[in-house]
């Protein structure tokens, strides 16, 4: 799909990606792939990895966990791919990860788009390398922020699955650190579309009379919740985490014909990558220029994909040709620090194999992104 022909005699380095390219979370996979491709295309044009180009084989799972498992088996067995890259979603990836330990392929999962603790814990973390901080870190950032703002009565609406549960658990634990409890909680089903109503959930949360609401969900559901809250004159601060894909969320809210557009405000979102317009960062500048060059709209998710691609490429460049996943594995076990032009080099070592512990908090004011915090956890 991406990448080019074999220029230097070796077959391309294949990366397998199963993600949502359709459905309510479809934009996440698309943007993530787009961001990674911006980097790989440029790299491949410059000669790839020791003459081997990088190619991503991607399959759409529509954010449906069983499909993710099916796609993974396709990638591993049919396509003979051993590096899985940028899987999207917690329930999807969580269902698939046992495959990492049970096939002879010894595949690696590089930079899944999930903050689930599962990817950072035994027995899977050995085969998984993350860049983004965990959901727990993101939710803790949000909770700490709200508590700091004296918003101690916190409610949560979350997706009724492993992802939502991981967010719920993160919020709960963060609150426990402040000796606080959730005042109310509600769930919604996975695959919730923007056209559906969140009135029931809003009514449930209102019973706890919260000061702030944390949304752990996909962008369509989060946007629907914000829209219905604002429509019902419920203007309290709301926070959510990076999984929403802030631009996708804002696209829905800003293009929403209802009056909610006017009050897309007082919304706090944690991000796992710095603001892509932060020109003080080399990688941000690269990303912006590449986006401009390929006529793409820059965004947080795309930027994360770009960063992921760059980290992986820098690692691969440290191996010898021809590429093998074993070479990458052994490299990662000893030399796992690369500098891709962020504030500090990225280290994939440590118990959790997690490249970044920095969470960025942004605020949405009048429909616009305003970075407000940058927390190193």
């Amino acid at each position: 799909m991406i990448g080019c022909s074999t220029l230097y005699g070796h077959p391309p380095i294949q990366l397998g990606m199963s993600a949502a390219f359709s459905g309510p979370s479809g934009k996440i996979g698309t943007k993530l792939l787009e961001g990674a491709s911006l980097y790989f295309d440029q790299l491949n044009a410059q000669g790839g990895i020791h003459g081997q180009s990088i190619r991503i084989q991607s399959y759409d799972d529509g954010y449906d966990p069983p499909k993710t498992v099916y796609n993974t088996l396709r990638l591993l067995q049919r396509d003979q791919i051993s590096i899985l890259f940028q899987y999207v979603g917690t329930p999807t990836t969580a269902l698939m990860v046992p495959l990492l330990n049970t096939t002879d392929k010894k595949p690696l999962l590089m930079f899944p788009f999930t903050g689930s603790e599962t990817m950072r814990q035994m027995p899977y973390q050995e085969k998984i390398y993350n860049f983004r901080p965990s959901n727990t870190q993101e939710t803790r950032t949000l909770v700490d922020f709200f508590v700091g703002e004296k918003k101690t009565k916190i409610a949560i609406v979350y997706q009724a699955d492993a992802f939502g549960r991981s967010g719920w658990d993160g919020v709960r634990k963060a609150l426990q650190r402040h000796h606080l409890k959730l005042v109310s909680e509600a769930t919604y089903h996975r695959g919730f579309s923007f056209n559906e109503s969140m009135a029931a959930q809003i009514n449930i949360l209102k019973r706890g009379n919260p000061d702030a609401v944390i949304i752990v969900g996909a962008y369509a559901a989060a946007a629907a919740f914000i829209r219905d809250s604002r429509d019902s004159q419920w203007g309290i601060p709301m926070g959510t985490i990076s999984f929403v894909g802030v631009e996708s969320l804002l696209d829905l809210l800003n293009n929403n014909p209802s009056k909610a557009k006017k009050i897309v405000d007082n919304i706090y979102i944690t991000q796992v990558v710095p603001y892509y317009k932060d020109t003080s960062l080399t990688v941000a500048n690269e990303y912006l220029s590449m986006s401009k060059k390929h006529n793409k709209t820059p965004n947080y998710v795309g930027f994360e994909g770009y960063i992921n691609a760059k980290i992986l490429s820098q690692l691969l460049l440290k191996t010898t040709a021809p590429f093998s996943s074993d070479k990458l594995s052994s490299l990662l076990k000893k030399n796992h620090i690369v500098d891709i032009g962020l504030r500090e080099p990225v280290s994939l070592g440590g118990r959790e194999h997690q490249g970044s512990n920095r969470v960025y908090l942004i605020k949405i004011t009048q429909g616009n992104i305003v970075p407000i915090q940058d927390v190193q956890l």
């Binding site: 329930p91 814990q121 699955d161 492993a162 549960r165």
Partner: protein
């Protein structure tokens, strides 16, 4: 073919539908109940298995790893059919993982948190109705003996009716399928059965059309059915064969019987005609002057009842009788009886004498031990004196000026029983216009459908109520009343009614002038009418008895001579006698077409000679000559004319 087959088929179709419906309902009801119970048990055990599975897997996740894995696990179990929800609750009552959207129902939140120290904690099931979910059975299982919380699995009970419905629909489809196959099989079998039946039907139809004489073709057809059918149809065909033979024989027999019956009926009809002809048709005024009306309806073609009214001189002899039994024997006895009465009554007008003699005559030749009841009454037409005798017969009624009385009984027994029995007679004197009503017991013993008798009471009432009617109308009224009372009940006995209204006989004084011409025929019986005419003429003109006697003597003598000797042939001839009276004399003229005979030419008779020696008519002519004043004979053409003149002084 098909009317028969369709009917049979329809009947079987209805039966099969009935059997299938009943069987279907029974099976559906029975197995539905069993199935429901089994599904429920299976369901619960499925829920228990899931709950235990989760509970067993949970401690590891809870103790060391991401809680979202727990969620991932229960989400997968949630996919299992019939699982409504799964949730895990810790010992603080917090639902640390659940599948509810948008929130955990209150019913579950309110469930008590189990005592964590209870080592006996086991899986429990509770039936709940949750809003938005429906009826569920909640299965709760402790995690690590309850130390880490409880797993709740909700099994959706609404799936049970759904499953049952599916099973039911499948069952109905199978039953309908089997039903259709059965019907097809039945249709096939019936077609096989009905073909020979149809042939048998054709056989019987054609047999009936051909007057039950089986044609060669039909016999072949029956033989074919007999040979080709092995089952009951074969037996049926054989039965048909026998039936046909028996029927043919019976019809032949019947035809003979019918012919015989026709002959008998024809004879009976003639007998009835004869019997009715024997009875006088008394419908209007009797020559005696009294009004007489009679009615008789035999119970069978010929009856044993009779009535009679004859006039002997000044006497009207009335009889009503009832011969025991009915039919031809009774009718014959009735004929004997009526003949006896008529002949004996000509000799005596004493009712007890008549009855006595009739009885004796009947007793003589009564081998069949038949008896007859009889009322015999003799009315003196001038005086109205009624003498009567009852021989075991119901007493007639006298209706006098609207008052009804029965005649007194007389000593008597039915006729034909005891020879020489002395019958008593009795008598009353009728007033002018009094009614005498005689009847047979057929009237008073007429019954209605309730088996009640008409009885004397009803007869008396009817007679009294209609006493003003004339005999004919009264008679009709009584018969109509009896008929109405019977109301369609068959007539058991002959019904006879004889009704006589006495009018005193007025001496007939026909307007006879001084000139009277009367004609007679050449029969000796004409002497009686001649005597009457003479008496009538003489009494009309108040002539003396002597003259009357003389005229009688003369004319009787002369007419006798003419009848006996005047004709050589045996043809009928008319003889005219003319009476002409003047103040002093009477002229008698005899005209006939007999052989020429002049009485004046006979010699004067010596009255002293021996009677035997006298010539023909000699003595008679002598009287004639002696008694007449003048006598003149002339022969004109073929006729004789004799003119005599007698002096009235």
């Amino acid at each position: 073919m098909t009317k028969l087959k369709l009917t049979l088929f329809q009947e079987i179709l209805i039966s099969v539908i009935g059997i299938f419906v009943v069987t279907g309902i029974c099976i559906a009801g029975y197995f539905g109940a069993i199935l429901r119970h089994q599904i429920l048990v299976q369901y619960e055990s499925k829920g228990v298995a899931i709950a235990k599975g989760i509970a067993d897997a949970s401690p590891e996740i809870l103790s060391s790893r991401d809680i979202s894995l727990l969620q991932s696990m229960i989400d997968q179990f949630k996919e299992i059919q019939g699982v409504a929800y799964i949730c895990i609750r810790d010992n603080n009552g917090v639902f640390i993982s659940h599948t509810f959207v948008p929130e955990v129902p209150d019913a579950l939140k309110k469930m008590p948190i189990a005592n964590t120290l209870d080592p006996q904690r086991k899986t429990t099931t509770t039936q709940l109705t949750l809003p938005g979910i429906g009826n569920i059975v909640d299965i709760s299982t402790p995690i690590l003996i309850g130390q880490l919380g409880t797993v709740h699995v909700g099994m959706d009970l609404s799936i049970i009716p759904k499953l049952l419905r599916e099973v039911f629909i499948n069952m109905v489809i199978i039953i309908v399928f089997i039903f259709l196959i059965s019907i097809a099989i039945f249709y096939k079998i019936l077609s096989r059965i009905s073909a020979p039946i149809e042939q048998l039907k054709r056989y019987t139809t054609q047999l009936a059309d051909s007057n039950f004489v089986a044609s060669k073709e039909l016999q072949v057809l029956l033989k074919h059915i007999e040979t080709h059918s092995k089952n009951e149809i074969h037996d049926l065909a054989v039965s048909f064969h026998h039936l046909n033979q028996a029927l043919a024989a019976y019809i032949q027999n019947l035809q003979v019987t019918i012919a015989e019956k026709k002959a008998i009926e024809s004879e009976l009809s003639i007998a009835r005609e004869i019997q009715l002809n024997m009875l006088p048709k008394l419908e209007t005024q009797h020559p005696s002057g009294s009004l007489i009306q009679a009615y008789m309806a035999p119970a069978t073609a010929v009856g044993g009842d009779f009535y009679d009214a004859i006039t002997i001189g000044d006497y009207l002899i009335l009889s009503v009788g009832d011969v025991s039994g009915h039919g031809v024997p009774a009718a014959l006895n009735m004929a004997i009886c009526i003949t006896l009465i008529r002949s004996i009554a000509a000799q005596t007008q004493d009712p007890s004498q008549i009855v006595h003699r009739v009885n004796n005559a009947l007793c003589q030749h009564n081998d069949t031990a038949m008896f007859i009841t009889l009322f015999l009454g003799v009315i003196h037409l001038k005086t109205g004196r009624l003498n009567y005798c009852l021989a075991g017969h119901p007493a007639p009624y006298i209706l006098s000026s609207g008052t009804l009385t029965a005649l007194a009984m007389t000593q008597g027994i039915p006729l034909g029983i005891e020879s020489d029995f002395q019958f008593n007679s009795s008598g009353i004197t009728l007033q002018p216009q009094d009614h005498l009503i005689g009847f047979s017991d057929g009237i008073i013993e007429a019954t209605n459908p309730q088996k009640e008798l008409y009885g004397e009471g009803r007869l008396e009432t009817t007679l009294t109520q209609h006493s003003a009617l004339d005999p004919k109308s009264l008679c009709k009224t009584v018969i109509a009343d009896v008929s109405k009372f019977s109301n369609g009940s068959p007539q058991a006995d002959d019904i006879t009614l004889l009704h006589c209204q006495w009018h005193p006989q007025v001496a007939e004084r026909p307007q006879i002038g001084t000139h009277l011409k009367v004609d007679f025929i050449n029969d000796i019986s004409e002497l009686e009418p001649l005597q009457k005419v003479v008496e009538l003429f003489c009494s009309t003109h108040q002539m003396s008895n002597t003259i009357t006697m003389n005229i009688n003597l003369i004319l009787e003598e002369l007419l006798t001579n003419i009848i006996y000797y005047g004709y050589t042939d045996h043809a009928q001839h008319v003889i005219y006698i003319t009476f002409e009276k003047s103040d002093s004399e009477i002229r008698l003229t005899i005209e006939d077409d007999a052989i020429a005979f002049n009485p004046l030419e006979t010699e004067t008779v010596d009255v002293d000679t021996m009677l035997e020696d006298k010539p023909i008519g000699g003595l008679g002519i002598h009287f004639v000559k002696t008694l007449t004043q003048s006598i003149n004979y002339e022969r004109t053409g073929d006729g004789n004319k004799l003119v005599m003149v007698m002096s009235l002084s």
